[in-house]
Symmetry: C2
Subunit: 428 residues, 2 copies
């Protein structure tokens, strides 16, 4: 139990104190002034509760408090079927702790924030107090917890890898350059090479950390810093083993999110087996030319429709992406090396996860690096893992903000992020 503020009752716990005198602390979320009585809606970390203010001097005091004033309220807990949660506080004594000079720039008590996205982001310190933003953040936190708890129970170990790199290994495009004590360093776009190295030590690893991409596209799903939920595991047969783990991880994340009070959010069920389609067949299904090497956003949406119509699933795997579009460490499909043992996971028609089986033999890495005319020198510390004996392995990376965006039905990842970064935005 929390060691501090023992005398404080939370808004959501009022019903456990019926008939008692309690003390609340929180923010003035809203006030409604009627002729004979005022209502104060008090917000704390647990939610919002209603306080009925009748005494003239308390009503006068309340009239001086702008929205978001910080107050202590002492009063009596009374049942009232009309009040939110069936309970309210009567005969309050309001003690202001911090009184802002004026109302905030938006009406945080409205069911939805009626403010354009750039304004909302400019005033993040205020807009993030809106209950919808709070719910999105709680869902994000629950998703991280579900990710970790599922993998912990499967024998994975959490790792934290370097974000400052000597070279920009995976192609070098869209990488941020850092002045590192007078020489160049680069921000990691993913923990890929490090999580693979760690399979040699711990077999099953995961990381929850920021990833950085100097993304020149101004879209609703690309930002410069995103939260990457990475996992990698050894001793697999092929990518299907990785997909089976990912299915359980997604189910664990959704289960954790069910514990969050997020009005209006319908969490998509995760089927015991997520439907899958090979890239080659996906092109036919969406009517794309057979020489396409990737799926366009409209193709992903069409596959989302297919999964929903044919399988009743919000989720679907696309497997076998062409080798030529996948990174050098990708394991080819043994039956036809045009294709790869890789996959994407779509959530309601948007790619939220990429993964696959990786090469694991040292000589296969040397051949892949040579075939792509890459310089092997910067990979020395990585290749040493394979020269020292690495099992067949694979993994995945979940882009968490994209998943939350899909689940809450936002139109832009920025709506569910705390302080997004993009080409045009580096503050607050």
């Amino acid at each position: 139990m929390p060691p501090v503020i023992s005398a404080r009752t939370l808004a959501q716990s009022l019903s456990a104190h019926m008939g008692e005198t309690i003390s609340l602390q929180g923010w003035v979320h809203h006030t409604r002034h009627l002729s004979a009585v005022d209502f104060l809606l008090l917000r704390d970390r647990s939610g919002v509760c209603q306080i009925v203010v009748e005494l003239p001097e308390q009503r006068s005091l309340l009239a001086t408090l702008p929205h978001e004033s910080v107050v202590t309220v002492t009063g009596n807990v009374v049942a009232n079927r009309q009040a939110p949660g069936g309970v309210e506080v009567h005969a309050p004594v309001i003690a202001p702790m911090v009184v802002p000079a004026s109302d905030p720039p938006f009406e945080l008590y409205r069911p939805a924030l009626d403010v354009h996205l750039p304004t909302r982001l400019d005033h993040a310190a205020v807009s993030l107090r809106h209950p919808q933003a709070i719910a999105a953040q709680r869902l994000t936190a629950a998703a991280m917890r579900g990710f970790r708890e599922t993998l912990d129970s499967y024998g994975f170990t959490e790792i934290q890898t370097p974000k400052l790199l000597e070279t920009a290994p995976e192609g070098g495009a869209n990488v941020f350059r850092v002045d590192y004590f007078g020489r160049d360093a680069f921000l990691a776009q993913s923990p890929q090479l490090y999580k693979q190295i760690m399979v040699g030590a711990l077999e099953r690893v995961y990381e929850v950390a920021p990833a950085f991409r100097a993304e020149p596209h101004d879209t609703s799903r690309h930002v410069s810093q995103y939260l990457s939920l990475d996992a990698e595991l050894g001793f697999i047969a092929d990518h299907q083993d990785v997909m089976a783990v990912l299915r359980d991880v997604i189910a664990g994340m959704i289960a954790a999110m069910h514990m969050v009070d997020a009005p209006g959010v319908v969490l998509p069920e995760v089927p015991a087996v997520i439907p899958q389609i090979h890239f080659r067949d996906a092109l036919v299904l969406v009517g794309a030319p057979e020489d396409e090497s990737d799926l366009a956003p409209e193709h992903e949406r069409a596959l989302g429709e297919w999964a929903l119509q044919e399988h009743g699933s919000a989720w679907c795997f696309v497997t076998g992406y062409p080798m030529k579009k996948r990174p050098f460490y990708t394991h080819p499909q043994p039956s036809d090396p045009t294709w790869s043992n890789s996959f994407d996971l779509l959530c309601m028609g948007l790619e939220i996860t990429t993964g696959g089986q990786r090469l694991h033999r040292y000589e296969d890495y040397l051949a892949a690096i040579t075939a792509r005319e890459m310089d092997p020198a910067p990979f020395a510390g990585y290749l040493e893992a394979f020269r020292t004996g690495m099992p067949p392995h694979g993994g995945f990376a979940i882009g968490l903000e994209r998943m939350i965006k899909q689940i809450v039905g936002a139109s832009n990842v920025r709506e569910v992020m705390l302080f997004p970064r993009d080409m045009h935005r580096l503050a607050p």
Copy 2:
């Protein structure tokens, strides 16, 4: 239960399969060749087990396998009081999966790695497979889990904040500069300002994330990227409430670390109340001049001795650091504003955590920024949180690698990190 590799038994689970034929997968950790029999020590993610090889063709095969070969071994589980764990595998059939060209550069089977630190770090892909390195990483993972679980149970919400900043707010020293689409950005040294903003929305927040410091000091405890375990909470009386939460968090971390098999590591107990000493008194105790404004490493060590001798505690708080040495958001000590409502937590004589109460009134921030002759403009998005009503609050940041270093008795933080970064090291 794990969905994959159901036919596989882990080294540490052998005793549950006494008398059965099982299949193991892992690395050749070591082999011992006697005249009549060979011993194969197999390592997997659960630990090491012993396999007795008697058949001539299996012995010939084993002789061709370098250390760290990846193998499947099928055999019979037999009790043997002399074997590690009281159990071993007989009549094995060894199937090599991946055979390295040669032995690795170090002898990973030795109880301790007898290799100089720079060589160890250069060959991290190998040295991190040593059981001591694995134990350090498992302790680190357990510490993170204990941190999160304790704070989750206290009503905190996990957040993830930006690492790319428009300005270098906290003084600007030792900050890495990033080329951000042609303009300057800076890597975050801490989530301080963001976690405070989020107190306005969620009241109690925490973050586990990398922090970056362009640290020009070449010491055993400074690196360029470290893991910062941050927490911040609202509605406190003062810094003593924060210290009470921190005490429970540290206890939760140590409790989680007790679940890790880490031979030779003695986890320090956390007393119900961690002893504390005011900075002013600490100077007297260690015999430092009374006008010193910070504690030198030898002073911290002396305070560690004091806590152990006088209170039997590996932990001690130093409170009240001089305001002039603390950041602008620091709350002064009400009885004497020379001092602050701040603290450091020492673990066996090394500072591993800094924290305190923060200012919470808008006008106090304006005054503090003016008094320090700072430009308020870059803080606009931060100050908006205080202009909108913020409760009294405070928090702390744990430097996790320092804590793990102290606990395992390492002489350098780099010994317990995966891929450390410093002035001279940016790879692997």
